[in-house]
């Protein structure tokens, strides 16, 4: 099973997108609790 450079980039983008998504949800919780 080979992993291409392009696939690593895509994987990192996906991980980053989900971390950003979690960040948005945390900010939303923070805002609603204020």
């Amino acid at each position: 099973m080979q992993i291409k450079k392009n696939e690593v980039k895509g994987l990192l983008v996906e991980l980053l997108a989900v971390v950003a998504y979690i960040g948005v949800f945390f900010m939303m919780t923070l805002a609603l609790m204020m």
């Binding site: 392009n6 895509g10 983008v13 997108a17 989900v18 998504y21 948005v24 949800f25 939303m28 609790m33």
Partner: protein, 480 residues
């Protein structure tokens, strides 16, 4: 079965080792017998029709459920064989409801078995067979569709199945390492941290919800552990087509895809409403505990994972009817089509919603104006009546299954809100429990839950084909 067998052997767990050996012997005997029975058909190279594919896909799940339940039944951790079948179906369908008793003292071999079943179930048994076992793939696409996965990442079905497994195995490596390191940082021994990391990743990626301990995610008492699981259960609930597009360099697809847009909107609304409702009740007083106890559980419900970090009784006693209603909606919507998630899927919600808006626009525009409506899912697609009808039909099937199950729960004396919560969890293949799923629940409810998990996972059509095939066979025999 060889992996849990090897685990038991290496760790010197002799009882589960022999349980797996017995199961392996029974499965091999049955497999060889079926090969002998079907020899004539194989030699004639009979043409596989759609009905055969759908029936084989759905029937294979039932046979595998019975065979895979044998190690559970032999372990002595279940009260009956039906309970063992329940747990296997819960694993295969990535639901995560548990009837196995004394999870905290389960052997590592059996734990490996439980979590492997949910991991394989997430990807699909046919997909597994196509990737690693079968050489001939004639008619394979029909079996593959029969299992509820109808995406073509590359022109041939075997290639698509391989891509699905490649994505899953790469994430398995990353996720297990991340959870392993985090496990050691929170005080687990390296070996225990490894197995916990592996098991929790398998559950998270498959949106399964199994955990090696009774307390589920509460056992770890770790915010970072919870954050890592959120990352992987959200990734697991995304369409494999989306993963493939992102990995092939089409990164904008993540933002453009109608399914991710729908997922973001519905998760945001349900999480915000749950936070508002529970802030009003004053149970969780700061943002971190609100995020950990409320947003985590809503996301776990919406992605149909089923990890929980509050007790079942807390949902019933603290969340109130409004909180339960939000969870029911989240569990029914579920994750993405062609992912490891359940529910009636974000894509169908988006299609029906877009069709609704399109109808309103048509009403407001001139009768002479014929307009095509489009949506973007991997590529630009036209919103046809056939597509809307198919999506609406599946949503109706889910709702009917959910309503019957809720009524059955209420009939057996459970409060309506609790019956609805548990049934949404079963229909959507989620795995969160409000306390109904126990070995002492009525047998009819157990059987209905098994059927509902099965229907929800295979998305009805294959199972209906199997039922039709059986009725047709009985009719023929009756006429003869």
């Amino acid at each position: 079965m060889l992996i849990p067998l090897a685990t038991s052997l290496l760790l010197g767990e002799w009882n589960p080792f022999f349980d797996f050996l017995i199961t392996l012997a029974i499965s091999t005997t049955l497999g060889l017998s079926l090969l002998l029975i079907g020899r004539e058909t194989r030699e004639n190279k009979s043409y596989v029709q759609w009905k055969h594919g759908l029936v084989v896909a759905s029937l294979s799940w039932v046979i595998l459920m019975v065979l895979c339940a044998i190690p559970y039944a032999l372990s002595g951790h279940v009260y009956s064989f039906l309970d063992a079948c329940f747990d296997v179906m819960s694993g295969f369908t990535t639901t995560g409801l548990v009837l196995t008793q004394d999870l905290d003292h389960l052997s590592l071999g059996l734990n490996m078995w439980r979590h492997m079943l949910t991991f394989i179930g997430g990807q699909g048994m046919i997909v597994l067979a196509l990737t690693f076992l079968l050489k001939e793939t004639a008619g394979a696409y029909i079996f593959y569709v029969g299992e509820g996965k109808d995406i073509n990442l590359v022109p041939n079905v075997k290639g698509t199945a391989r891509i699905i497994w490649k994505i899953s195995l790469i994430y398995l490596l990353i996720g297990t390492i991340a959870l392993w390191i985090n496990g050691m940082l929170i005080g687990l021994s390296p070996l225990s941290a490894f197995f916990n990391g592996l098991f929790i990743f398998e559950s998270a990626w498959s949106t399964g919800g199994f955990a090696p301990y009774t307390q589920n995610m509460m056992f770890y008492h770790s915010f970072s552990y919870e954050i890592i699981t959120i990352v992987f259960f959200i990734l697991g609930s995304l369409n494999f087509g989306l993963h493939y597009a992102a990995w092939s360099g089409n990164k904008k697809e993540i933002l453009k895809n109608v399914e991710t847009q729908s997922f973001f909107i519905t998760t945001f609304i349900t999480s915000a409403l749950a936070v508002i409702a529970l802030a009003k009740s004053g149970i969780y007083t700061d943002a971190v505990s609100m995020f950990r106890r409320v947003v985590y559980n809503v996301l776990s419900a919406h992605t149909t994972t089923g990890f929980n970090n509050v007790y079942a009784i807390q949902f019933a006693k603290e969340w109130g009817d409004f909180g339960i209603l939000i969870m029911v909606v989240a569990m029914l919507i579920g994750g993405s089509a062609c992912s490891t998630a359940g529910g009636f899927k974000g894509l169908r919600v988006a299609i029906v919603f877009k069709a609704f808006i399109a109808d309103i626009k048509r009403l407001l525009s001139s009768e002479r104006n014929v307009k095509l409506f489009r949506f973007h899912h991997i590529k630009d697609q036209i919103l046809t009546d056939g597509l809307v009808k198919a999506s609406a039909l599946i949503i109706i099937c889910y709702m009917v299954t959910f309503t019957i199950g809720t009524a059955l729960g209420a009939y057996y004396g459970y409060p309506l809100s609790n019956a609805a919560f548990e049934m949404a969890s079963v229909t959507g293949n989620v795995g969160l429990s409000i306390g109904i799923t126990t070995p002492f629940m009525p047998v009819a409810l157990k059987v209905y839950y098994i059927i509902a998990m099965y229907l929800g996972r295979l998305e009805f059509i294959s199972v209906f084909a199997l039922i039709g095939f059986i009725i047709g066979g009985v009719k023929k025999i009756w006429i003869k």
